[in-house]
């Protein structure tokens, strides 16, 4: 999927997801649709960071600091992952992405 998020788009967790850490894995379930998601490694960390709404740029910088990489290098993977979360209705992005 093509990335349609902007640097200054604000990413917010959607309500209605139950989460639980089991070992290294974060298990998530959408309480309405009964859909499961599993986030591991940096995916789980991104979900944690989204406890507060953040811009895409802010998220990339925070991750780049933690994983000691360049924020620009982190960006394609982070936005691809956010696209996936958006598709699964786990997050909202403001302003909304255009189809």
């Amino acid at each position: 999927m093509m990335c349609r998020m902007k640097e200054d788009s604000i990413v917010v967790r959607r309500a209605g997801w139950l989460t639980a850490q089991i070992g290294d894995d974060l298990m998530m379930m959408n309480a309405e649709s009964d859909f499961y998601l599993n986030l591991s490694g940096s995916g789980g960390r991104i979900w944690e960071l989204l406890e507060q709404p953040r811009t895409v740029a802010d998220l990339c910088e925070a991750l780049a600091r933690e994983y000691e990489i360049d924020p620009e290098a982190a960006r394609p993977e982070v936005t691809a992952f956010l696209d996936e979360l958006l598709l699964r209705k786990a997050i909202d992005v403001d302003p909304p992405t255009v189809a």
């Binding site: 639980a20 070992g23 599993n38």
Partner: protein
């Protein structure tokens, strides 16, 4: 309807009174903690119609219809099962559904987690053998019972996550369903009792029990869950599953999970699976198909259980 003729029995810690004989269940003991009774009663269910095999109503509970066997109504409070037995139904079949799908529904109604598997007591804790039908759960349980370890349940493992901090298994009854050829091959005859009239009435299974082992009716902690592979290859070994793999496995072996979700309990199910996967180790168990090598598998489970008990006694964790 008069008062139920049979019982009191004990099933998963519940005091059971029944209109039909339930010879597999142990007798209720006054030493067990008092709980809400479970009434099994005969009644007419034809007014629910035959349009669906499984129906849920918020007010009335769940209706399960098994063609040519019986219809079961699990009441909303989980305190009563009404059943209407079809003409010419085999009583053993009726009880098999009662101890299977209906028991799973009762677990849901009473806040327990029903896991598909057989369980045996080793070193004062339950080990659960879980996996799809035909993967050898009951056969391995029988081999453990032959060594003197008490059988706790077969098919539905009722797991209590609410009474204490750790998951507890509530024993159903000390019998396993086995194919007659397994009974013969594993040479269980000496240890097994079953009535010939019941053995293979429909040609598909016999109920086996081991009178030498103690009957355990009180809840016991769950020490380990074994995810059984289809027997193949040469290795006898266990491998600890990661969090995600354990979750996915437990989800796949939730007994009648679809019914649990239809009852609107998917949040309860998620929480139970997470709690179980977080607090009990789940191992993949590989073993060869040759029944002659069952003893090696039993050895592995005994040693693992002994090591765990020794570690715990020394103050360590699992």
């Amino acid at each position: 309807m008069g008062s139920p003729r049979f019982g009191p029995y004990v099933l998963c810690g519940w005091r059971v009174l029944s209109d039909i004989a339930l010879p597999e269940l142990p007798a209720w003991s006054a030493a067990l903690p008092e709980e809400q009774n479970l009434i099994i009663e005969l009644g007419a269910l034809s007014h629910y119609g035959a349009a669906m095999d499984f129906a849920v109503t918020e007010k009335e509970g769940a209706i399960l219809r098994i063609p040519e066997v019986a219809s079961f109504h699990v009441h909303a409070a989980g305190d009563r099962v009404t059943l209407q037995i079809e003409a010419n139904a085999d009583p053993l079949d009726v009880r098999a559904y009662l101890y299977g799908s209906v028991l799973a529904l009762l677990c849901y109604k009473r806040g327990l987690f029903p896991l598909h598997g057989s369980s045996v007591l080793l070193n004062d804790a339950a080990i659960i053998l879980s996996g799809p039908s035909g993967f050898g759960k009951s056969t391995l349980a029988a081999a453990l019972a032959r060594r003197g370890h008490p059988l706790l349940c077969d098919d539905v493992c009722a797991i209590d996550m609410k009474t204490s901090g750790q998951p507890l298994l509530r024993p159903a009854f000390p019998r396993v369903k086995l194919l007659p050829d397994v009974i013969a091959k594993v040479q269980l005859e000496a240890a097994v009792t079953y009535t010939l009239a019941e053995l293979g009435t429909k040609g598909h299974f016999g109920m086996a029990s081991f009178p030498s082992a103690a009957v355990v009716s009180h809840a016991v902690p769950v020490a380990a869950i074994y995810a059984l592979d289809l027997p193949a290859g040469d290795a006898v070994e266990r491998t600890l599953l990661t969090g995600k793999a354990a979750f996915v496995f437990l989800d796949s072996q939730t007994h009648r999970g679809g019914m649990g979700r239809e009852l609107g309990l998917h949040v309860q199910l998620f929480r139970h699976i997470v709690a179980l996967a977080s607090s009990v180790p789940v191992y993949r168990l590989q073993r060869p198909s040759a029944l002659e090598r069952l003893d090696e598998v039993v050895d592995l489970l005994e040693v693992a259980s002994h090591d765990r008990a020794a570690t715990q006694a020394a103050g360590g964790t699992v």
